[in-house]
């Protein structure tokens, strides 16, 4: 009996406190912009993020510094499930519509930024940044490609992913290859040299798997080697007219044909779902080279597998595009303030911390192995990452690196059409002769899709 009464009393007290908080925040946020003086009323803000598993504790530890800096702000961390697109935005939409969004949202990927930025899911951070003397140019040039849509700053980067080539040094030495391939021709030749087949022709060790579905490799990543662009300057899709795309597809077909489509699909099937577990093909010497993100360095260190002597390098470029040796796809965790956040001013303090606090970024980079996103954190002497990580610091800082597929106000669901095209192309359903006409159809589908985003 006593217990219930106590419980009732305490919940009443909480209600009073909650009511007080609500009142306080609404007065501070009613101005619609950053507060001019720091409001130090104790407050709890809700943070949605996705740091789970081995990354959960390092994040909690790194976050403690915020509590020291702003002792009146308590963070209530709510870890969200990790769906296929690395974003919890669908849940966020529901939370906003339900009138109960978090104050700060930190999804692992910017896939929905474009679609939601214009739609108003994210608050514009520009006024806050201006008040604190920050600009998006404080980050690497690539940052703007996935956080800013049509001039609206919807989010800031907070650590990122960057992609490059991983190669197995022991296999290279055994095959008599001196160093990582720098051109796509060299990549092809090395891939063939490094491949080991079973007596029946199936693949025992693959030099390089050129399939669209293989782990992180997307069709855009191959085309990037030819500096192929999705859209022309007027925003029209140009996969048929930019020759880089056809060149990349032909390169891919040549290597697939050399393996034999059935053989390479069987190899894929045997290794399916091993990307993020210790049976990973590269980590276990079943693949000699792969296109992958910087996090693999941490995985290789942490996973249980035979010792791996590996190196990293920028992904090769086409011989007629030497300028593309260096830049690659980048983009990762972002942090922003959702529409309807109850404590936007305090939320901004956390956003700013997660995006720009050097100690935080360095600590997280060291523990989870993601690329630190500010110049200060990149050059910090505290950074203790394996030498293989340097490749990715340079990829992030490269002025030609960008997020892909490009963010548009209609989202980037249009990329699905390229995936479908790729599936058919890889399997040989589309002949070399039909490539151009099929790419023209693809352009039309992408245009239709973007029009649907704006239309029906």
């Amino acid at each position: 009996m006593r217990r219930t009464r106590l419980l009732a009393l305490s919940s009443l007290a909480m209600l009073v406190v909650a009511a007080g908080c609500g009142g306080g925040s609404s007065s501070s946020s009613s101005s619609g912009g950053p507060a001019t003086t720091l409001d130090k009323t104790p407050v709890t803000i809700v943070l949605w993020d996705m740091w789970s598993g081995r990354e959960a504790q390092p994040f909690k530890d790194a976050l403690k510094r915020f509590q020291v800096k702003y002792p009146w702000i308590t963070i209530k961390e709510e870890v969200q499930p990790n769906p296929p697109n690395d974003t919890f935005d669908p849940n966020l939409v529901n939370a906003i519509n339900g009138g109960n969004p978090p104050d700060v949202a930190m999804p692992f990927g910017p896939d929905y930024v474009g679609q939601w930025c214009a739609g108003g899911l994210w608050q514009d951070l520009a006024p806050y940044m201006k008040a604190d003397g920050m600009t998006i140019n404080d980050f690497a040039p690539a940052a703007i490609t996935y956080t800013n849509v049509g001039g609206k700053q919807c989010a800031l980067p907070s650590l990122t992913d960057a992609f490059g080539l991983y190669y197995n040094k022991d296999m290279f030495a055994k095959a008599g290859i001196a160093g990582p391939p720098k051109t796509m021709d060299e990549l092809m030749a090395d891939a063939k040299k490094l491949t080991v087949r079973n007596p029946d022709g199936t693949i025992k060790v693959a030099g390089f798997v050129p399939l669209n579905q293989w782990e992180e490799l997307g069709p855009g990543d191959l085309a990037n080697a030819w500096d192929a662009k999705w859209f022309d300057s007027s925003g029209k899709p140009q996969l048929a007219t930019d020759p880089g795309w056809a060149a990349a597809f032909m390169w891919q077909r040549q290597l697939i044909d050399w393996y034999g489509y059935d053989n390479i699909v069987k190899f894929f099937a045997a290794n399916t779902n091993n990307e993020f577990n210790p049976s990973n093909a590269f980590e276990n010497g079943k693949v000699a080279m792969m296109f992958d993100g910087e996090w693999r360095t941490a995985f290789i260190k942490g996973d249980k597998h035979p010792p791996l002597n590996y190196g990293t390098a920028p992904f090769p470029a086409a011989s007629d595009h030497p300028e593309m040796y260096g830049p690659a796809r980048v983009g990762g965790t972002i942090v922003g303030i959702p529409k309807g956040a109850k404590h936007p001013d305090q939320a901004w303090l956390l956003v700013k911390f997660l995006a720009s606090d050097t100690t935080y970024l360095v600590q997280m980079a060291n523990s989870v192995g993601n690329v630190p996103t500010t110049p200060a954190s990149q050059s910090s002497p505290e950074l203790s990452l394996p030498p293989q990580f340097d490749t990715f610091l340079h990829v992030w800082a490269n002025p030609k690196s960008a997020f892909a597929p490009p963010t548009t106000p209609s989202g980037n669901g249009y990329a699905n059409h390229l995936d479908n095209f790729e599936d058919a192309w890889q399997s040989g359903k589309i002949s070399d002769a039909d490539l151009h006409s099929q790419l023209a159809t693809l352009d039309q589908q992408i245009s239709n899709d973007l029009a649907q985003g704006a239309g029906p």
Binding site: P84, N85, P90, V93, I96, N97, Q115, W116, G119, G120, L121, Q213, D262, V265, K266, F267, F268, A269, A270, T272, N273, E275, K339, G411, G413, H417, D419, N420, D423, A424, S427, K429, Q444, Q445, S447, N448, A451, Q452, G453, A454, G455, P456
Partner: protein
């Protein structure tokens, strides 16, 4: 009376009629959940069939709508008859044994108690072209097994096998139907010298038609809503929703993608309404034609 009905009326209005009317309204709008819905008339329906003008440009519309419809029809036309034949055959076998009858019946019913998602995961593993036991077994027989979930030709047949495995619920219905056939009908037709096929054709089958009719209607509705197996198997192979090459892109899967991946809520609502109308029309046709072939033993027909 109204008082007794009121919980039902409340539930119907709030959870069924209300949302249905709202979705009908959304199907005429562009709606992404965040901005308020914008009226666009029939554009969503035009986008479906590719007869549309957007921003002054002709728009070929949704390139996968036809694919999704064709896949759905395939799984119904191929999968459903197989299910019915297989269920009747198994049920007939299950009327045979003299001892351990309940054991056999439990054994055949058990798969339908497995959750679809779990069963699909297991099937993807079993059908893995390299590491899966099915192709390994075929390999011992000297057969180079197909790529199953990695080949657009074999992905749907693999799902049909999954459907046949989990057929216990239909078997139970047919078993009940078979055990209800009066013995004297068999005795009468045997006296007339009928063979096994004639016994089935003139006694068993007519007496089973009400159950066949029921499983047909439920099967078609299930076919239109075919989702879990396709979604789970396509995503666990690492190829993504609808793969390989959109061979597992069923109507409900595509509707879900439009709604919850691309947030084209208006278009998804339009797709849902077309699905609803198709289901109603097909069910009505079946009901109307059923008088000709469904035999109710009660003598009402």
């Amino acid at each position: 009376m109204l008082l007794f009905l009121s919980p039902w009326i409340f539930g119907f209005v709030v959870f069924t009629a209300g949302p249905m009317l709202l979705s009908l309204y959304y199907s005429f709008t562009h709606y992404d959940l965040i901005s308020s819905p914008r009226w666009i008339g029939l554009d969503n329906y035009r986008y479906m069939i590719g007869k549309l003008t957007l921003n002054g440009q002709p728009n070929q519309g949704d390139p996968y709508f036809g694919t999704a419809v064709r896949n759905t029809i395939w799984i119904i036309v191929v999968g459903l008859p197989l299910r019915i034949v297989f269920a009747i055959a198994t049920a007939m076998l299950l009327t045979r044994p003299k001892r351990g009858v309940n054991g056999y019946r439990t054994l055949f019913f058990m798969p339908s108690m497995a959750p679809t998602v779990g069963a699909s995961l297991v099937f993807v593993y079993l059908f893995n072209p390299v590491t899966g036991p099915i192709n390994q077994f075929l390999g011992h027989l000297g057969i180079n097994g197909p790529l199953w979930f990695f080949d657009p030709t074999w992905a749907k047949p693999a799902l049909v096998v999954l459907g046949l495995w989990g057929i216990g619920d239909a078997i139970v219905l047919y078993l009940a139907g078979l055990l209800n056939v009066p013995r004297d009908l068999y005795e009468a037709i045997s006296v007339e010298g009928a063979n096994a096929w004639q016994r089935f054709r003139y006694v068993t089958f007519p007496m089973l038609t009400p159950v066949i009719f029921f499983t047909l209607i439920i099967g078609i509705i299930d076919g239109f809503q075919y989702f879990d197996q396709a979604y789970v198997s396509a995503t666990t192979t690492g190829n993504g929703v609808g793969s390989p090459q959109n061979s597992l892109l069923f109507y409900s899967v595509w509707l879900y993608e439009q709604a919850f991946t691309y947030f084209h809520m208006g278009y998804a609502a339009a797709m849902a309404w077309i699905l609803f109308i198709a289901t109603m029309v097909l069910t009505a046709i079946l009901l109307l034609t059923s008088r000709r072939w469904v035999h109710y033993g009660g003598g009402l027909s």
